[in-house]
């Protein structure tokens, strides 16, 4: 690293000169490129005549961005990246450097931060102001974290590409919505029931697709997801079709306190708090946090059990699994049904939170987003997936907050519409930068002397 710094120092003057020169060229090239595209615009005036409108200001912005961008790249970003590369290489040489405190205790810090998150939001933004941060960000992200952790069992561990995961989410949501409305069961009875029903559908789906592999499996699971959605739309006597099911009962705090406004054991009344829906949202936040942590805990435990190891072995080599006496049929079915069960839990939570379910919430795009989160996070890695969910879902929610962009791009500009564009761009960037996802390595489930992470270059993605 030392010699590189010397190089940059000795070449400092010429580097700036070169950067200035290249920036100037870039400006000229972009001027030539954009002068007709951006500088001039053809529009119609009031008499329907074609007129040329001149936009020199915008052209100037384009040219400046190109010139300054080029200057910064050559003068600062490239030397910085080279220095970083050298630093990384140096680090590998004296590898034994211990990880930082933050990195070592990341999980514990993250869980504590999440537990205090609603409190901090209430303190920062006030009772009413925190609603957005707890509901739109906290709960929304955690739902996706839980879904992605559930799908991770199927895709990340067992290596079965499931494009219809949202079907189980739908089964869970409709189980809660229908059973609570028709039979008046409480959330705490229906939560496990929704999970069991979803797991049951996981087995139903599992049986026919077990003999399929890879792309074929993906197509059939995709079709299964669509079938569930179409049944929900068309079976109008039960599901009320596209109208959906509304006024779904709220969850209570284990039946002790209710969040219904009229109820005698109303939570806000019992504690003498001012009326607000925030308390319910905060309760829901802790509920989904607990559910997500349960998913993580079960996944971590299962990975250390023979069934979890069999899933990962199945992902690596199915034929070898069979040669070791592992019944691959039941192994695949358990992966499908346990993954589906967590989808069902998340679904019933979703129904409680929205108070309304309709088939529109369970389109293929949802499956794709959940799968994208799993792939971006690094298949099999819980931390990576949680980070990916926060980035992807939090990122799209943040776009809604970017109202200042309207001042730049005009009042017609709605940043949410660029959600998918940015989503796609982010995925391409991450996949180029880290092809195995944020956390590409895998933690071994057992060790003799020391726990060494297994590099992503050895693990396989599974072939269905």
């Amino acid at each position: 690293m030392a010699n590189i710094t010397i190089n940059t120092e000795s070449a400092g003057g010429s580097l700036t000169a070169r950067a200035l020169r290249e920036g100037f060229y870039a400006g000229i090239v972009s001027l030539g490129l954009f002068v007709l595209f951006v500088g001039l615009e053809t529009t119609q005036n009031i008499r329907n005549e074609l007129v040329l409108r001149q936009r020199w200001g915008l052209l100037l912005v384009f040219v400046l961005v190109a010139a300054v961008g080029r200057f910064l790249t050559v003068a600062y970003i490239r030397p910085w990246m080279a220095a970083r590369k050298a630093a990384a290489a140096a680090k590998v040489r004296d590898a034994a450097e211990p990880e930082s405190f933050f990195k070592r205790n990341f999980t514990a810090i993250a869980i504590v931060a999440l537990i205090f998150y609603p409190v901090v939001m209430v303190l920062l933004f006030g009772v009413q102001g925190s609603l957005k941060w707890v509901d739109n960000f906290g709960i929304q992200i955690l739902i996706y974290v839980m879904l992605a952790w559930g799908l991770n069992i199927v895709v990340g561990l067992a290596g079965l590409l499931d494009l219809g995961y949202v079907a189980f989410y739908a089964v869970g949501a409709y189980s809660y919505a229908l059973l609570s409305q028709h039979f008046g069961f409480s959330f705490w009875v229906l939560l496990p029931l929704a999970g069991i029903l979803a797991a049951f559908w996981g087995v139903i789906l599992g049986f026919p697709v077990l003999r399929l592999k890879g792309d074929y499996l993906a197509i059939v699971t995709l079709a299964f997801g669509e079938i569930i959605r179409l049944v929900l739309i068309n079976w109008t006597e039960v599901t009320r079709g596209t109208f959906g099911i509304s006024s779904i009962p709220k969850a209570s705090v284990f039946g002790i306190w209710s969040f219904d406004v009229g109820a005698a054991n109303n939570f806000t009344k019992a504690f003498g708090l001012p009326m607000s829906s925030v308390y319910y949202k905060i309760f829901l936040f802790y509920l989904i946090l607990a559910l997500a942590l349960l998913t993580a805990y079960v996944t971590i435990r299962l990975r250390r059990m023979p069934i979890g190891r069999a899933w990962e072995a199945l992902r690596e080599d199915e034929i070898a699994c069979r040669s070791l006496g592992i019944n691959t049929v039941t192994t695949k079915l358990t992966a499908f049904s346990i993954g589906a069960m967590f989808g069902g839990f998340a679904g019933s939570f979703f129904a409680v939170r929205q108070g309304f379910v309709s088939p529109e919430s369970f389109v293929f795009l949802e499956s794709a987003i959940i799968l994208a989160i799993v792939v971006l996070g690094g298949m099999g890695s819980l931390v990576g997936i949680a980070v990916a969910a926060a980035v992807m879902i939090g990122g799209t929610e943040l776009l809604r907050e970017m109202q200042f962009l309207k001042q730049i791009f005009g009042p017609d500009f709605t940043p949410e519409l660029y959600r998918m564009l940015i989503f796609g761009l982010a995925m391409v960037t991450v996949m180029v930068w880290k092809p195995r996802g944020f956390v590409g390595s895998r933690e071994p489930t057992a060790f003799l002397k020391e726990r060494k992470a297994v590099s992503g270059s050895f693990t396989k993605e599974g072939h269905g």
Binding site: M305, P306, A320, S323, L324, I326, T445, V454, K460
Partner: protein, 296 residues
């Protein structure tokens, strides 16, 4: 090399662990195995040799359930007296219940799992039972913890045997080729087999590695009493360690006996050296002449 003891072992007892009777396997118009019958004796190393395309791996896949034979019977006689008809069982049950383990010609390790984990996956069925099919283990009952500790001890034993203890926590895909071969054998042994099928265990090994393999295999037989069936091209391995050799050509058995017997069988020599059918007679005569010459 001890041919005298080998012949003694074969003539001493007749206690077959695996009986293959009238086995035939047809792929469309191709008769890969044609009416093959042989026996593998308990506690012995039986080698299956033959030129390329003779049907050795097909026999293997029939024995281990990866192919369903067109005709014939394959019976496995366990020490306990139980008999299993392998041609009727699905592959994973053959390993789980009939206690027949196998390795593959092109190594099939779980490359992304560590060496130790590879050996733990092999103990799946034992551990599944101990963990009450996951449910009791998930609750955290001590029974599973004991079984888990025992499984690591068994893995440690085989790591030691295969000389892989140093690499136990490395990914299996990171091992050199010879070590991967040994790991695959150790993994098969972790399933607790009575009969071990090895498909070309010495393929691609250098002389030093194939010596280590010989030691591992004879060690397995000596210490666990596991019977072994192996396909091999490396004659130094076959002649060194096997008690009994079966030679295949074009899906048919052409010779069967001790290594020395097979080595001098004119049909085997003809098959390996590629002599025309008419010339076989000549070769036999020649060999007889040489043998007579040796006697005089």
């Amino acid at each position: 090399m001890a041919p005298a003891t080998n012949t003694e072992a074969t003539t001493m007892k007749n206690d077959p662990i695996l009986k293959v009777e009238h086995l035939s396997m047809r792929f469309g118009g191709l008769m890969a195995i044609n009416d093959l019958s042989f026996e593998a004796q308990r506690g012995e190393i039986t080698a299956l040799i033959g030129p390329n395309g003779a049907g050795k791996t097909t026999v293997f896949n029939c024995v281990t359930g990866f192919y369903k034979p067109t005709m014939g019977m394959i019976s496995m006689h366990q020490k306990s007296g139980k008999t299993f008809l392998l041609e009727r069982m699905p592959d994973f049950e053959i390993t789980r219940d009939a206690k027949v383990a196998r390795t593959f010609q092109n190594i099939r390790l779980f490359t992304g799992l560590t060496v130790l984990e590879n050996l733990l996956v092999a103990q799946h069925n034992t551990l599944m039972k101990a963990s009450g099919y996951t449910i009791l283990g998930l609750i955290g009952l001590p029974a599973y913890r004991h079984a888990s500790a025992a499984s690591i001890e068994l893995a440690r034993y085989w790591l030691d045997k295969a000389n892989l203890t140093e690499r136990a926590d490395d990914p299996a895909g990171d091992l050199p080729y010879g070590a991967q071969r040994r790991l695959e054998i150790a993994r098969a042994m972790c399933t607790g087999p009575e009969f071990l099928c090895l498909d070309e265990p010495a393929a691609g090994l250098n002389p030093r590695e194939s010596l280590a393999l010989n030691e591992l295999l004879t060690g397995i037989r000596r210490e666990t009493g596991t019977s072994i069936l192996l396909i091999e091209h490396d004659m130094s391995v076959v002649m060194e360690i096997s008690d009994h050799v079966v030679v295949l050509e074009y899906g048919q058995k052409i010779s069967d006996g001790t290594p020395d017997h097979v080595k001098n069988d004119p049909k085997v020599i003809a098959a390996y050296l590629g002599v025309e059918d008419e010339e076989v007679e000549e070769v036999i005569e020649e060999i007889e002449e040489i043998e007579e010459g040796g006697k005089h």
